[in-house]
Amino acid sequence: MNFVLGAVDYVGRAVLHSVEEAGRIFQLFLSVLAWLVRPPLRLRPIFKQMEFVGVRSIFVVVLTGTFTGMVLALQTYHGFRMFSAESMVGATVALSMTRELGPVLTALMVTARAGSAMAAELGTMRVTEQIDALYVMAANPVKYLIVPRMVASVVMLPFLTIVSDFVGVVGGYFVGVHLLRINSGIFMKNITKIVELDDIFNGLIKAAFFGLILSLIGCYKGFNTTGGAEGVGRATTEAVVLASVMILISDYFLTALMF
């Protein structure tokens, strides 16, 4: 009996904690919106974050996008060959990249690179009292630290996704046409025939939403860090895990709504 009560108690506490945390994250989001529209809007810190989140992620996004497109072409080729549908490899790669893999993989990569850095940076600022120093100097840390990171992430994720989509298709083309000898004209024609602009745009909307999630969670975890260096490590890990899970869960619901 005690064991059952203990288990119920544990689950109850976990649920309460999660609901409370979701509420706090939403509160932070509202606070970011409020500070976003309150002048002055400083562009310099936003551009600095855009460079960090966007420009410096290009290499890793190109790498993952290219190999994902390549492996997708390889896998679908072997499957489609059984139905003599090799000509559909290009369209399948392009559709998968634009609708799903481009935005999701880009978001996961940026979470690992920039989301973790946001949590670690803000967490360090919290435990070394730099955030308190901002308050003392009558500078709001949400405006100064979080708004630029969120704006940069929401703006840059779609751009990175375009890059990922493009190199994914190029990778697929290379494997399909050059290695597996699919006719180049058919490969390209089926892409243009099947992939519509909406597929690309909806993928980009997803990417912007993922940018919001990864920056909001990264900043929230960092901003609420307690417990010194160990706390910073914990906040960083929690930020990456929670943001990645939320990206994958929200991807399902966004897909169900859009397509």
Binding site: E129, Q130, A133, Y135, V136, M137, A138
Partner: protein, 248 residues
């Protein structure tokens, strides 16, 4: 200048402040002493509105800051400067940008004027010409001095010091003490210092208050505190393990 009236604060079940009453006089340095982890920093954070009390009032020039919204609190905060324990310099900025930060945020000045003030404040703390350095290139004592330069950048009327000499060698401790004395005098500041460094306390304090078990148990001039018969004060000043302050 600052009146702390019956401040209570608990974190969970732990009661940290249990009815603190203290008057901080204008143009003087008040040192709050007490054990490590005894609530001194918590009290300091209440004075500048970083923490809200569960009960009680903090009047800054007659205004109860515990009731203010963020905007009004920020206006009050412009009267304050604060030197944090580890200086809390922004490590992504140069020393010059750190000192210029409050000026760029709040003062409508040209870059040339800001640069002039930054140079003046750095000169005041004995660190001319370090504007381009990063905080990571500085020693602990230098970081604290830059922290002080930043704290006085806006010519505040009140400066709070959170254990300014902790972790410094005796020579640097004396240098920081002298700097606090000079800065207080030159800028006509009201200073609140929290510390448990006995030598520094008597060196810099015009008034000393002892915080123990969430209350101010004694306050007065350095001579009055030295002559205090309060057993807590006597034990704290003598550093004895025998007495009402429990070691474990």
């Amino acid at each position: 200048m600052i009146q702390i009236i019956d401040i209570h604060k608990s974190f969970g079940r732990q009661k940290v402040l249990d009815g603190v009453d203290l008057d901080i006089e204008a143009g003087k340095t008040t040192v709050i002493i007490g054990r490590s982890g005894g609530g001194k920093s918590v009290l300091l954070k209440h004075i500048i509105g970083l923490l809200k009390p569960d009960r009680g009032q903090i009047l800054v020039e007659g205004v109860d800051i515990t009731k203010l919204n963020d905007r009004d609190l920020n206006e009050i905060r412009k009267k304050f400067g604060m030197l944090f324990q580890e200086a809390a310099l922004f490590d992504s900025m140069t020393v010059g940008d750190n000192v210029a930060f409050p000026l760029r945020e709040h003062a409508r000045m040209s870059e040339a004027e800001i640069r002039e003030i930054v140079a003046d404040r750095l000169r005041a703390v004995g660190l001319s010409g370090v504007e381009a350095k990063m905080p990571s290139e500085l020693s602990g004592g230098m970081r604290k001095r830059v922290g002080l330069a930043r704290a006085i950048a806006m010519r505040p009327r009140i400066v709070l010091f959170d254990e300014p000499t902790t972790g410094l060698d005796p020579v640097m401790t004396e240098a920081i003490n002298q700097l606090i004395i000079d800065t207080q005098r030159n800028y006509d500041l009201t200073c609140v210092v929290i510390s448990h460094d006995i030598q520094s306390i008597f060196r810099i304090g015009h008034r000393i208050a002892m915080l123990y078990e969430g209350k101010i148990v004694a306050s007065g001039t350095p001579d009055e505190i030295r002559a205090s018969q309060n057993p807590v004060v006597r034990q704290f000043l003598s550093g004895s393990i025998e007495g009402p302050i429990k070691v474990i």
